[in-house]
Symmetry: C2
Subunit: 229 residues, 2 copies
């Protein structure tokens, strides 16, 4: 009987949950196979309170028992990004060029992922779920597949051999249309997610993040349950 | 004349200065070619106050104009290391096996280096000096050359192309004897450095870090200027 119970018990996985739609979809994917441990970051981003609200709503919805919110007070200080610095403008309706936008936070994702890996190694957890997406993204360098591969190599070299930690990014090659469709299929509560870079009450609909989200819902033929200006 | 002045002006480099002897030596190396920007971390390590004293002494000694101390409050919380957790014992006089010691802080150096890279990218600085050493080290996985190579690849993939940031670890292949000799040659004020994992007044002389330091001074035929129990 003990053996059977052991077999039934799911392995744990850390899921990086920003509160955005992609993070809600990877949470739904992770939950199919793993017991999710939610991890959220507060690094002084403009919409921090709304993101935390989303994180808590998703946690509640999925009945997540273990979670952590990590404050990174120094990222705002060393940031140089319009996502953090209210003196800078959030770019609206920008042409999609190959240029990296001002909302890019220098090397932020490496910091977030390395915190997730540290925690995973402490807990003895082998899986980290990350909602990066390189197809319909803002063009951030740290959301691409080759970056992810390099990070997984770094983990292998920079942790104990027995830790066997891997970052999985199930959405990396999907477009927003496919992400929305998958989310609907998995019953993701999109009404609790937040993507807007700028506002916290009604989404602006014009920042990169809103535009990508709206594009995804539109092309999937589904209406976005959140409110826009 | 302006052109001449520009030529004379040194490029800046961020130097990770823990306050240990290796970090003081890389600071001395960096200063030969670059204007140093010192970076120090407080992550709840046992000897935090003494390390900060060392950092400030070295800063003063080298006349460093730009520096930053970054607090990482969450590392202690997610740590699982005897370096952070006072309920765990610091291993003394352990046999040098291939096993990674309990003072290893899971994936710590990736966090520290990624903060340095973020700051470098914000400042437009291309060089980061890191005092890692794999020869006479405690066997931490994140102090090895292949780890460093993988990290430099990650930087290339995870930052803006124009940022061109590189981590340099000049001591990576040197033994402690060579590091002490080089430090003496460069006039490093070893009296201001601190290596002990355990104590903050007189070094214990028995932890891994003290033993490696003492070995270095002994084999270089030089007496260590700090006091031991």
């Amino acid at each position: 009987m003990i053996r059977k119970a052991e077999k039934i018990k799911k392995e744990s996985a850390i899921v990086l949950v920003s509160g955005g739609m992609d993070s809600a979809v990877i949470a739904a994917i992770a939950i199919k196979k793993f017991t999710p441990i939610f991890l959220h970051f507060n690094y002084g981003q403009r919409t921090v309170k709304k993101e935390l609200w989303s994180f808590n709503k998703l946690k509640e919805y999925y009945g997540v028992k273990q979670s952590k919110t990590v404050d990174i007070p120094y990222l705002k200080e060393i940031g140089a990004s319009s996502l953090l610095d209210t003196k800078m403008e959030i770019p609206l309706d920008r042409a999609h060029t190959s240029k990296i936008p001002s909302t890019y936070v220098p090397f932020r994702n490496t910091q977030l992922l390395s915190i997730a890996v540290s925690w995973a190694e402490s807990l003895g957890v082998h899986q980290v779920f990350y909602g990066a997406n390189q197809v319909d993204s803002s063009g951030y360098p740290d959301c691409r597949e080759n970056y992810l591969k390099a990070f997984n190599k770094l983990i292998k070299l920079g942790t104990k051999p027995e830790s066997r930690i891997k970052i999985t990014a199930p959405l990396i090659k999907m477009n927003k249309n496919e992400i929305v469709r998958m989310g609907i299929k998995l019953g993701v509560p999109f009404q609790y997610t937040w993507s807007c870079y700028k506002n916290t009450d009604r989404a602006c609909g014009h920042c990169d993040s809103c535009k990508l989200r709206l594009k995804g819902f539109k092309s999937a033929g589904i209406s976005d349950p959140i409110k826009y200006e």
